[in-house]
C-alpha cells in the first residue's frame, strides 16, 4: 500500500510540478505586483479586410468581427464604442494578448492594435484559466489544473502518512504540523468568525 501510494505521489508530483511553480509564482505576484512581470510587452498594428453583416447589437457585431478575424478572446460589453459615423471599436482581451479593434462604418475593414504580453505575464495568467472563446485547447489546461488540485490534496494526506511511518524528524514534524498547520487552521477559523 505504502509503495503504491508513494508511486502515485511521485508520478502526479512530476506531472504537477510545473503547475505548482506557476501557482506559487503567480500567487506571490498577486500579493506583491512585481514590476518585472510586465516586461517584454509590445504592440503591433495591422489591418485586415473583413466581411461581416452589420447589426445594431454591439455584442453580436463584436463577436462577428472577432470570429471573422479568427481571434481568441472575450468581447467585454463595457469596451464597446460606436462613433457618430457608425464606426465601431471594441477590445478582445485574453491571456497573452489584447486586441483593440476599430471597424469602419461599412464593416469591411478592421484596424487592429495587437498588444503582446511578455512570457511572465502569460505564465501568471495560467494560475486559474479554464475557458477562452475561440479556443478548444484551453479546456485541457482546466483538466490539468483539476488534476493538480486533487494531487495537492492527495499529496498532503499521503505526505503526512509517509512522515508518520518515519522514525526520525518526529519532533520537528509535530511542531510544524500541529504548530504551524494547526495554527493556520485556527487562523482561518478566526478570520471567518471574528475577522
Amino acid at each position: 500500500m505504502r509503495k503504491f501510494l508513494s508511486k502515485i505521489h511521485i508520478w502526479l508530483g512530476m506531472l504537477c510540478a510545473p503547475y505548482m511553480i506557476i501557482f506559487g509564482f503567480s500567487s506571490l505576484h498577486f500579493n506583491h505586483h512585481f514590476s518585472f512581470v510586465e516586461t517584454g510587452q509590445h504592440s503591433v498594428n495591422w489591418e485586415r479586410q473583413i466581411a461581416v453583416a452589420d447589426t445594431s447589437d454591439n455584442k453580436v457585431l463584436a463577436e462577428r468581427v472577432r470570429l471573422d478575424l479568427g481571434l481568441m478572446g472575450w468581447v467585454p460589453w463595457w469596451e464597446y464604442r460606436r462613433g457618430e459615423d457608425n464606426s465601431f471599436r471594441f477590445i478582445v482581451p485574453r491571456p497573452g494578448k489584447s486586441y483593440t479593434i476599430k471597424v469602419n462604418p461599412e464593416r469591411t475593414l478592421a484596424s487592429v492594435e495587437e498588444l503582446r504580453y511578455g512570457p511572465l505575464k502569460v505564465i501568471n495568467s495560467l494560475h486559474a484559466f479554464g475557458h477562452l472563446p475561440g479556443s478548444n485547447m484551453v479546456k485541457y489546461w482546466s483538466w490539468y489544473t483539476n488534476i493538480c488540485v486533487f494531487f495537492v490534496i492527495f499529496a498532503g494526506v499521503s505526505g503526512v502518512y509517509f512522515w508518520s511511518k518515519r522514525k526520525d524528524e518526529t519532533l520537528i514534524g509535530w511542531l510544524l504540523l500541529a504548530g504551524v498547520s494547526g495554527g493556520s487552521l485556527l487562523l482561518m477559523i478566526f478570520v471567518w468568525i471574528r475577522g
Binding site: I10, G24, N31, W141, Y144, C148, L185
Partner: protein, 193 residues
C-alpha cells in the same frame, strides 16, 4: 544537498499543509460552479449617526468608523464618490461590510452581507496584501509562505526524484507531459491569434 532537499520538502509540506490545501480546495470551488453552486446572500442595512473628529483624514475616519461600529475585516482602500460620500469596505471570508459615509459626515450607512459556502471559499482564496491589523498581516505572511512553499515543494520534489538511485519510466513520462504541456500552453497563448 539531497538531505537538505528532503528536509525542505518535508518541512514545507508539514508546515504549510493547511494553507496550501486551503488554496487549492478554494480554487477548485471557484472554477467548479456546477459542483459548488452559489447560494443566497443575507444582506442587512442600518444607518447610524456619527460625529467624526474633525482632525481625522479619510483613511483615519474609516478606522474610526470600523472601531466605533465593530466592523471587522481586512480594510480595502477608501473610495471617494462623485457626490462627496466615502465608501469603506471591510472584508473577511464569508462576510463583507460596507460603510457609506455621507458627504456631511454626520451619518453612515452600514451594509452587512453574509455569504454562502462558495463565496466563503472565494473569500479565503482572494484575501491578500499587507493591510489591516496583526491578524491580516499574519494572513499576508502565511499567504506568501504558502506561495513560496508551492515552488519549494515542487523544486525539492523533482530534485529528490532526479537524484534518486532509481527513476521509473512513468515518472519520466509524467514530468515530460507536465513540462511539455505547460510550455505548449505558454507558447500557444503567446503566438496564436
Amino acid at each position: 544537498m539531497k538531505k537538505l532537499m528532503q528536509k525542505i520538502h518535508l518541512y514545507t509540506g508539514l508546515g504549510l499543509l493547511a494553507f496550501v490545501v486551503m488554496y487549492f480546495f478554494s480554487g477548485l470551488v471557484m472554477v467548479q460552479p456546477k459542483l459548488f453552486p452559489s447560494g443566497d446572500t443575507e444582506k442587512s442595512t442600518r444607518v447610524e449617526q456619527v460625529r467624526i473628529p474633525a482632525a481625522l483624514d479619510v483613511d483615519e475616519a474609516g478606522e474610526w468608523i470600523a472601531g466605533k461600529f465593530d466592523l471587522r475585516g481586512q480594510p480595502q482602500p477608501a473610495q471617494k464618490l462623485n457626490d462627496g460620500r466615502v465608501r469603506y469596505r471591510f472584508g473577511r471570508p464569508g462576510t463583507n461590510l460596507t460603510a457609506l459615509l455621507d458627504a456631511d459626515k454626520r451619518s453612515v450607512e452600514i451594509e452587512t452581507a453574509r455569504w454562502d459556502f462558495r463565496r466563503l471559499m472565494v473569500g479565503y482564496h482572494r484575501i491578500h496584501g499587507y493591510r489591516g491589523n496583526i491578524v491580516w498581516l499574519l494572513w499576508g505572511l502565511m499567504y506568501d509562505l504558502a506561495s513560496a512553499g508551492c515552488i519549494l515543494f515542487a523544486v525539492s520534489g523533482v530534485w529528490m526524484w532526479a537524484t534518486a538511485r532509481e527513476r521509473d519510466k512513468v515518472s519520466w513520462v509524467m514530468l515530460a507531459i507536465g513540462i511539455g504541456f505547460t510550455l505548449t500552453m505558454i507558447l500557444y497563448l503567446m503566438l496564436m491569434p
